[in-house]
């Protein structure tokens, strides 16, 4: 009986993840195309997607590599984009931390925006789920997304190799990032972080080796964190005022 529910939860996760295919596949294609434009062959593009499996960070590294940025800065910037995976991992730990080590290691590799977003909602809504049921659901959410990310990369790399450089595809990368950023701006603090990073990034380009990216990014992070703190304090003050009012 328990096996049946585990299996059906895997399927449930798989079905819930299908709408995300519409997003993951175009981005995978795009990564393949841009990787090919940057001079990577199909195998290298696939190895990139297979080993890293994190869209935004892959795009970041690709762009910085082409600007002849020192490798340490390429890695720091790309991993900074991926820091949110650490947050996802932290917030999934109370739900999945009890699973065997090999499952946790697989789950770590499979932690992406889509699997996290679906799973955390499911786990919060259904607290009676067991750890193995949760794992089944979690793996279900990535069982289609992960292979399609790889396949899309390969197709993109293959197609990209046929596209002449004169098409100016370089400009597609900032557009892809802009498409990702819009929906991320959920709170005023997110908007402040984004705005400060934008303003800081222009003069920061004067710094050597693309170091300005990290400086502008840090400025944005600090601005966002500080805004969050201020908004929380303001909310508490107005709450305290209401409570003391006659």
């Amino acid at each position: 009986m328990a096996i049946t529910t585990t299996k059906s939860l895997f399927l449930r996760g798989l079905i819930d993840s299908l709408p995300f295919l519409l997003v993951a596949s175009p981005f995978g294609l795009l990564f393949g195309v841009l990787a090919a434009e940057a001079g990577l062959n199909v195998l290298e593009a696939l190895a990139f997607s297979l080993a890293v499996f994190a869209g935004a960070a892959q795009f970041t590294a690709l762009q910085l590599l082409q600007e002849n940025t020192p490798l340490l800065i390429v890695l720091t910037s790309a991993l900074a984009v991926n820091l949110r995976m650490g947050m996802y991992s932290a917030s999934l730990t109370p739900y999945l931390g009890g699973a065997p080590m090999w499952q946790r290691a697989c789950a770590a590799y499979m932690t992406v925006d889509q699997s996290y977003a679906l799973s955390i909602v499911k786990f919060e809504d259904e607290p009676e789920m067991t750890t193995s049921q949760r794992m089944a659901y979690f793996f279900g959410t990535t069982s289609v997304i992960a292979p399609s990310w790889m396949i899309a990369t390969v197709i993109g790399a293959w197609v990209g190799a046929q596209i002449p450089a004169s098409w100016g595809l370089d400009f597609v990368l900032p557009l892809a990032f802009l498409a990702m950023i819009g929906p991320m701006l959920r709170t005023p603090a997110h908007m402040v972080a984004c705005f400060v990073a934008i303003v800081a990034s222009l003069p920061a380009t004067l710094m050597p080796h693309n170091l300005g990216l990290i400086v502008a990014g840090l400025a944005g992070m600090m601005a966002g964190a500080q805004t969050e703190l201020w908004l929380e304090q303001a909310a508490e003050r107005s709450k305290a005022k209401q409570e003391t009012a006659p």
Partner: protein, 109 residues
């Protein structure tokens, strides 16, 4: 577009693979349920939303297809893509408007 050598590429791929896995595994594998300091979590929340715009802005302000010359059409397409993403809260619509804008740039330019 400048090129980079194979060694750099593989260092980046392997470094990112290890680094990304470490980030994802750190908590679920080692730290377990222990709490992270609030100030750290508060900053981590804004990494992607700060780093990505910082990366994009110079690429939009000085686009490479024009050889780094600031260009109103490129700015307009970037603004359109961003605005659609923000207003619809949907990456797909934003991506489609970006593709549409890029097509316009391609046909007009």
């Amino acid at each position: 577009m400048s090129t980079f050598d194979q060694t750099s590429l593989w260092i980046v791929i392997i470094g990112m693979a290890l680094g990304s896995f470490a980030l994802r595994f750190a908590f679920i594998g080692f730290i377990g349920g222990r709490q992270m300091p609030d100030w750290l979590m508060r900053h981590l929340r804004y990494t992607a939303v700060a780093i990505l715009p910082a990366l994009v802005t110079p690429l939009v302000a000085w686009p490479s297809p024009t050889g780094g010359e600031t260009s109103l059409p490129h700015l307009a397409v970037a603004a359109l893509t961003f605005a659609v993403g923000y207003l619809t809260r949907n990456v797909l619509w934003a991506l489609l408007s970006g593709a549409f804008g890029f097509l316009l740039l391609f046909l007009l330019g």
